[in-house]
């Protein structure tokens, strides 16, 4: 066996996946080849280091919380499933179009609030449309939902920040939100690029699930694109 073939079998050797004959020839080569011996040692070193990682510590109160939530989530889901029809009605998208002209149009000022209606305890998609005049990279996005409104998948997070790009033209951001109480409030969306930043506030109004607002009205009241220059 030469170095090239030894190298080829290296990982299988580490995983004890070689048949006896091949393993014998592998070991033979390694014994007389310092390079391959060195490579083998590094392979072992990595495996040892992986196994020496400290055990992540689970919060002591996590178990109680998690089991309680598992049972509660199930109850909640069952209730939702029985109201499938209602969900279909509620799935009409609330579209809020926020036109932003990024070039030269950035100011610290607060902007007029568009409104969207969501129903209590039902996940609904709110779509935000951001218009940009140019391609922008490394844009920082920050979202801050009001108390009592959660972003599905980011429950209990009062602030979500991430980096991304804005394309020239319309950019769509889909936010699945769920209202946990009737308060509503403003969802703050902030876009930062370099030293420029712009903040939007989207007014979320919460309705009772059993008194759905007529779809058309909801749609009309929130679809009007708004351009901020």
């Amino acid at each position: 066996m030469d170095c090239r073939i030894t190298n080829h079998y290296m990982e299988d050797y580490l995983d004890d996946m070689l048949d006896d004959a091949t393993r014998g020839r592998f070991q033979e080569h390694v014994e007389r080849c310092p390079d391959c011996r060195n490579r083998l040692a590094r392979g072992r070193e990595l495996k040892n280091a992986l196994n020496a990682l400290p055990e992540p510590i689970l919060d002591p109160d996590f178990a109680a919380r998690a089991f309680k939530h598992a049972a509660a989530a199930h109850t909640w889901r069952r209730r939702i499933d029985t109201s499938k029809m209602m969900r279909i009605a509620a799935s009409i998208l609330v579209i809020v179009a926020l036109g932003i002209v990024l070039k030269g149009g950035w100011g610290p000022g607060q902007l007029e609030s568009p409104k969207a209606f969501v129903q209590l305890n039902q996940p609904e998609d709110v779509q935000l449309v951001f218009y940009s005049e140019e391609n922008l990279e490394n844009v920082t996005f920050r979202l801050e939902p009001p108390d009592g409104i959660e972003l599905v998948g980011f429950e209990n997070q009062r602030e979500i920040v991430w980096q991304g790009n804005l394309a020239r033209g319309d950019n769509l951001l889909v936010l699945p939100v769920i209202a946990r109480n009737r308060e509503g409030g403003s969802l703050v969306a902030e876009i930062r690029h370099g030293s420029r930043n712009k903040q939007f506030r989207l007014q979320l109004k919460v309705q009772q699930a059993d008194h759905p607002h007529p779809g058309a009205d909801r749609f009309d009241s929130s679809v009007a694109p708004m351009r901020f220059i």
Binding site: A63, V129, D170
Partner: protein, 184 residues
């Protein structure tokens, strides 16, 4: 009466899974690379299993069964995050493509973060976080949790050859990262 039964059911569910929680969390932590996502993954698993608690009762060997469900859930969550609300989607002009929504590539982790005087295990955790989910999963389950590849082939329903190539590429990437930052 109904409440009483409900309580008993929950207790039984908890009794079965509570002893597995530390272990599930450890795997989830290695999969996801951080506390919040690991907790979410374990939480999602419990939510998913709760309606299946009768089935759970009849599973003879719980751990491999749980690994399978956890792995699937991890992949599903990752997929869901790719479609996630919190990534910006580009609206393309109508004539441009069949798919009106094109996703932006996720931003790469900043290599600057991976230098400096961190201790070995922190560096290795950082390096693990830079791997793709498939490589992270196989390294976790095989190199760290000790599942044999042949076992994982059945559990994860991924061909052995694919598992091997993921494992080898994952390790090679790890070594490269760790060599580059001077750890190895």
């Amino acid at each position: 009466m109904k409440d009483f039964n409900q309580d008993q059911v929950e207790t039984h569910f908890e009794k079965l899974l509570r002893p597995q929680l530390t272990w599930l969390y450890r795997i989830s932590y290695r999969f996801t690379g951080n506390k919040a996502d690991a907790e979410d993954l374990v939480q999602d698993l419990l939510v998913k299993l709760y309606p299946r608690r009768d089935e759970l009762d009849s599973v003879a060997n719980l751990r491999p069964w749980l690994v399978r469900v956890l792995y699937r859930l991890f992949l599903d969550n990752e997929r869901r995050q790719k479609r996630s609300p919190l990534r910006l989607l580009k609206r393309r002009p109508k004539d441009d493509a069949e798919d009106p929504l094109e996703q932006f590539p996720a931003s790469d982790p900043d290599p600057e973060q991976y230098t400096g005087g961190r201790i070995l295990s922190e560096r290795i955790e950082q390096a693990l976080n830079m791997l793709c989910r498939d490589h992270r999963a196989i390294i976790t389950l095989h190199d760290m949790e000790g599942y044999r590849l042949s076992e994982l082939e059945t559990l994860l329903e991924v061909p052995l050859g694919t598992l091997k190539s993921r494992l080898h590429r994952g390790r090679a990437t790890l070594r490269k990262i760790l060599e580059k930052d001077g750890t190895f």
